[in-house]
């Protein structure tokens, strides 16, 4: 039996063994991408024969007044996520790496939200965000004489509320990346810094951060790409409301495709998806060009 396998291995070209992987990857990753290019120049409802419409879909998207709202909201989400969400895992990781005891426990606690299924997490947080004074967060705020806060019920509060939940949900993964990177910082450097009279903050500033720079640049671009595609939170929490205050680009894509009850506009949806993908690809290239020198 094993000799048969060995002979098969010797005889068959490598591509045969790659084939299943190529098939699955091609079918479920590349075929949809190719299809979306095709659909972006078609008018189709997936049942009747599609009609070629050239660049009409792209024009229709650019003419949609909601596009500006969606882009603004997405940028606003990305900015808030950067301000609130980006430092949190870094601070957590630096603190945790300094702990001598029960580090595993803290890693577990930090990572646990990542394990909770996102839809479940959102349902949970909807309870927390109940706008009545009896809601979970509002009760807590009430103890110290604050609130009640209209978490998801106010156009200006809704987006920060989404960012807080998204940060809670995603921070754990980034913490693990930072923790791994922190291990590579030679302990002698801290000892030397201590001898030079450096306190905790200046150790972080002069030793830790320079070592994490490469990783931080990667997590930053990953976060920007991730937040530009935010969909789950606005879809499940607010459905883009109130009054489109949390309508993001990806939610607009979804709305084009699925929200219209008599069959979606898949052409417009794929056109906007491609535009988003193009913008993100362009931004990534520029980002790596600009930061190449820093990360070396």
């Amino acid at each position: 039996m094993s000799s048969l396998l060995a002979r098969a291995r010797a005889a068959a070209p490598p591509v045969v063994f790659l084939l299943p992987m190529l098939l699955v990857f091609g079918l479920f990753s590349w075929w949809p991408i190719v299809r979306s290019f095709v659909m972006s120049v078609q008018q189709t409802n997936l049942v009747t024969d599609p009609v070629f419409v050239g660049l009409d879909n792209f024009r229709a998207v650019l003419d949609d007044p909601l596009l500006a709202t969606a882009v603004q909201n997405t940028l606003w989400f990305a900015l808030l996520a950067l301000v609130i969400g980006y430092p949190v895992p870094l601070v957590l990781a630096v603190i945790m790496s300094d702990l001598r005891r029960a580090r595993g426990l803290y890693s577990l606690l930090a990572y646990l939200p990542v394990v909770v299924p996102p839809a479940v997490a959102v349902l949970l947080w909807r309870f927390f965000y109940d706008a009545e004074p009896t809601g979970v967060f509002n009760s807590v705020l009430g103890w110290v004489g604050l609130g009640p806060v209209p978490w998801l019920e106010d156009p200006s509060w809704a987006m920060p509320s989404l960012v807080i939940e998204a940060t809670w949900a995603a921070a754990g993964g980034t913490v693990i990346i930072y923790l791994a990177a922190l291990v590579s910082v030679p302990p002698e450097l801290y000892d030397a810094a201590e001898v030079d009279g450096a306190g905790v903050l200046s150790k972080v500033w002069h030793v830790t951060l320079p070592h994490l720079r490469g990783i931080m640049l990667i997590t930053l671009i990953l976060q920007i790409i991730g937040t530009s595609q935010v969909f789950l939170e606005p879809y499940l929490f607010t459905d883009g409301g109130p009054d489109n205050a949390t309508l993001t680009v990806l939610l607009l894509v979804y709305d084009y495709a699925f929200a219209n009850t008599t069959g979606g506009d898949y052409g417009k949806a794929t056109a906007l998806s491609l535009m988003l993908a193009g913008a993100l690809a362009l931004m990534s290239v520029v980002y790596f060009r600009v930061t190449r020198r820093w990360s070396e």
Partner: protein, 456 residues
């Protein structure tokens, strides 16, 4: 060695080809071969996600009875609920039941896009085809005049209220409000004296527009002209309705702090005793019982208050049992037969209504929830009389509605781009409910422009 190599390559090629064909088969539509065995198999909308076991049992029992009557047809009820967001992809992916119900508002659009089947001949073969109330049948017809399904239930919007909360607020639960001023006053009383919101209105997933349209009709306005060519969203009635909401939300503080509600979530909150009053279809009691386990004693249904305007009326709608465009002619015929058996005959034939009530009674399902006539009012009355001994819903807590509704003008939903117009109105309702300083005039002018752009 050379020979081995060739043979093995050939084997590997065959193996990978087999893998491809398996994948291709998995992706391709699985064409039914059930007609070759002489039997037609159809899947049908059975129960909503989350429905109690009794509902499921009742449908399955009916399916068995149907198959006895039609030995050539196999019926498989499945869990399904109309959801605009998944409909088109389910249809494209062959995952839809063969037959399912869609709202009145969507039939024409679906027919135009050839997403549901033309069943004119199958419907015309039914004994009561000539007897439909023409305005009801119109909801099942496409713009081409063909018939795309059976209109199986018709509702008028009513005011649903929680009798317990009325009592706790010192109000008489047998005297529900009859004017909008009274709605406002009662809502304030409930909000002041209980933990619940006095009056709540849906606001998301197009239900905000649906209910703002209802409120507009009740105050004598319209959202579109009859042909659906002109938008009239910036009318006085809509403005008056929004101003009332603004007062209740921000001055009286009687609408609670949570405003993000749609059909399902508002039912849930009402059944949980968190809402004093809300507007919804007159038949929503069924869902409140089977999905949300509402306490029947606490439930009350009132006729929607109407203004003095001669145009004031209640919004009426309903469902059409349509058939998937992908169904074969034999499946279409079977689907219409099933809809006749399970959904329509009981609206026409008193004996069938009694048989249906027997099954519902055996599984402890609600019987006697108010509906409106699909045929003429005599037929409706005969059916109501026939099932009277079986009625198990608290009809005496619904008398305000059942006594009043036939004096109210039933106004159909906006004629063109209904759901899209509702979507535009969602934003308006949300703005008024979440922004204390919302400028109603400019919101309505803006919404009207957007709607007019759709209507062309």
């Amino acid at each position: 060695m050379r020979i081995h190599h060739r043979r093995l390559s050939a084997l590997a090629t065959i193996a990978s080809l087999a893998a491809v064909s398996v994948l291709a088969a998995a992706c391709g539509s699985s064409d039914d071969d059930n007609e070759s065995s002489g039997k037609v198999t159809i899947t049908v909308e059975g129960w909503r996600p989350g429905d109690e076991q009794g509902t499921i049992d009742a449908v399955n029992k009916q399916a068995e009875a149907f198959m006895k009557e039609n030995p050539d047809i196999v019926v498989k009820p499945v869990e399904w609920e109309w959801n605009a967001e998944t409909f088109a992809t389910q249809l494209a992916g062959g995952q839809l039941p063969t037959t399912f119900r869609v709202p009145f508002t969507d039939t024409k659009g679906l027919a135009e896009r050839q997403q549901i089947a033309d069943v004119t001949d199958d419907v015309n073969a039914l004994p009561y085809a000539e007897d439909f109330n023409p305005s009801v049948l119109a909801a099942a017809q496409g713009t081409d005049g063909k018939i795309y399904g059976l209109p199986t239930d018709v509702y008028g919007v009513g005011l649903h209220y929680n009798r317990d909360l009325f009592e706790q607020a010192g109000l008489d639960p047998d005297q529900p409000p009859t004017t909008w001023d009274e709605v406002e006053a009662d809502a304030k009383a409930i909000a002041d004296k209980t933990d619940a919101a006095g009056y709540v209105q849906m606001s998301t997933n197009n239900t905000g527009g649906w209910m703002l349209t209802t409120l507009t009709y009740a105050l004598g306005g319209r959202m579109e002209n009859e042909d659906g060519t002109e938008a009239s969203i910036d009318n006085d009635a809509t403005k008056q309705g929004l101003e009332m909401l603004q007062t209740m939300r921000w001055v009286d503080d009687s609408m609670g702090s949570n405003t993000n509600f749609e059909w399902g979530t508002i039912n849930e909150a009402f059944a949980a005793g968190k809402i004093g009053m809300y507007m919804s279809g007159s038949d929503v009691y069924n869902a409140l019982v089977t999905t949300n386990q509402v306490d029947p004693d606490s439930y009350g249904l009132a006729a929607l208050p109407l203004s003095d305007s001669p145009d004031a009326g209640i919004l009426g709608g309903g469902s059409v049992a349509a058939v998937s465009a992908k169904a074969s002619p034999a499946e279409q015929e079977a689907a219409v037969k099933w809809n006749d058996f399970y959904r329509e005959r009981k609206n026409y034939d008193p004996d069938a209504a009694v048989a249906d009530a027997e099954v519902l009674k055996a599984s402890d399902q609600p019987i006697g929830t108010p509906t409106l006539p699909i045929f003429d009012q005599d037929t409706w009355q005969q059916v109501q009389d026939a099932i009277k001994p079986y009625v198990n819903v608290p009809r005496d807590q619904m008398t305000s509605f059942t006594d009043g509704v036939f004096d109210q003008q039933l106004v159909p939903e906006p004629a063109a781009h209904t759901q899209e117009v509702y979507g535009i109105l969602d934003s308006v309702v949300q703005k008024v409910l979440t922004d204390e300083n919302a400028d109603i005039d400019s919101l309505l002018a803006d919404a009207n422009d957007k709607a007019q752009a759709l209507l062309g």
